[in-house]
Subunit: 196 residues, 2 copies
């Protein structure tokens, strides 16, 4: 496809990529449809052919975010020791790292009302990410964690801890920890103590 092509060819994906860059750079507050179009090298009216409005684009972005989030956790688990605690820790570490490395995206995924909660793909990708955590807690417990109240509490406790660490870290509220700089060990310690 030459640069002069009237038709883009794959504007939908180009827009998604542009939107992701736009989100990462401007944050959720500075995110605009016009900015995405400009970044994709297309007139600002063009996106309407692919996304109804900014929120629909953001919903698609969140879906991709959850998928990459799931992959990041699974990749980390594959590199980790096979014992249940190490597996849960690996997922937790990847959770925190994904958040700090993709702040506005993470914020879109977990802290925004803009993505369409009724979107099936979003619900599915979210559920899949959640599944990584549930699976790790289940293995550690030796049962199906979500099937009983103590198990659900274990899931909630682990999740709240990693999520809390991630959000506090992003806001710079945990800067008092470990001035020496071995951040990973410190995080690992915090995550492990949340386990059942």
């Amino acid at each position: 496809m030459t640069k002069m092509a009237y038709h883009h060819g794959d504007l939908r994906h180009a827009l998604l990529a542009a939107a992701e860059a736009e989100l990462a750079e401007k944050g959720l507050e500075g995110f605009t449809l016009r900015g995405c179009a400009k970044r994709a090298g297309v007139s600002h009216a063009a996106p309407a052919h692919h996304f109804k409005d900014a929120d629909e684009l953001l919903t698609a972005l969140a879906v991709g975010g959850f998928q990459r989030f799931t992959s990041a956790m699974r990749d980390r688990q594959r590199l980790a020791d096979l014992n249940p605690r190490a597996q849960l820790t690996a997922a937790g570490m990847a959770y925190v790292e994904f958040a700090t490395a993709n702040r506005p995206l993470f914020n879109l995924m977990f802290g925004s009302q803009r993505p369409d909660t009724k979107d099936a793909a979003l619900a599915a990708s979210k559920e899949e990410a959640f599944g990584v955590l549930v699976e790790a807690v289940s293995t550690l417990r030796g049962d199906t964690a979500m099937a009983n109240e103590p198990g659900r509490r274990d899931v909630a406790a682990c999740w709240a801890t990693v999520h809390g660490i991630a959000t506090l870290l992003m806001a710079g509220h945990l800067d008092f920890l470990n001035p020496a700089g071995q951040r990973d060990d410190m995080l690992r310690g915090l995550i492990e103590r949340s386990m059942p």
Copy 2:
């Protein structure tokens, strides 16, 4: 002061009250200076005499938020049993409740970049809120928690847990817990298990 008064008399405080209502109603994304002025019953150019821009107003709002946040935790502690665990739990419960009861304000305080981080009053009010938690953990440990690394980790663990619970709860991600509805007991359980 009659309704016809040309001068408001205490527009600064009226604006702060209006801004708080505006924030609660519209959220951080829909917050505008014009909206605050309108709500305060004043022309939209008037706020400029009291606040340089929206961020300065939001900074003042965040300061007030942290002060009320601190009070909420202290009030809860005063009603609770005197033993150290109950004191820490009380602070944690108040933490979570404040968050869910004041979502946009809490979001402004902990999740936004808009308040001026260099503002001395903001830093002080934030530090005071932090102090409630540090004090409770210190009492429980029997030492000055922030003076040693294990102590700091205990502070971080408790904080991350309550903060994680608060943010996940706000996003509706903990709905799988306790369908029976005894939410407080469930929260208390989660908070207590994070303690040293």
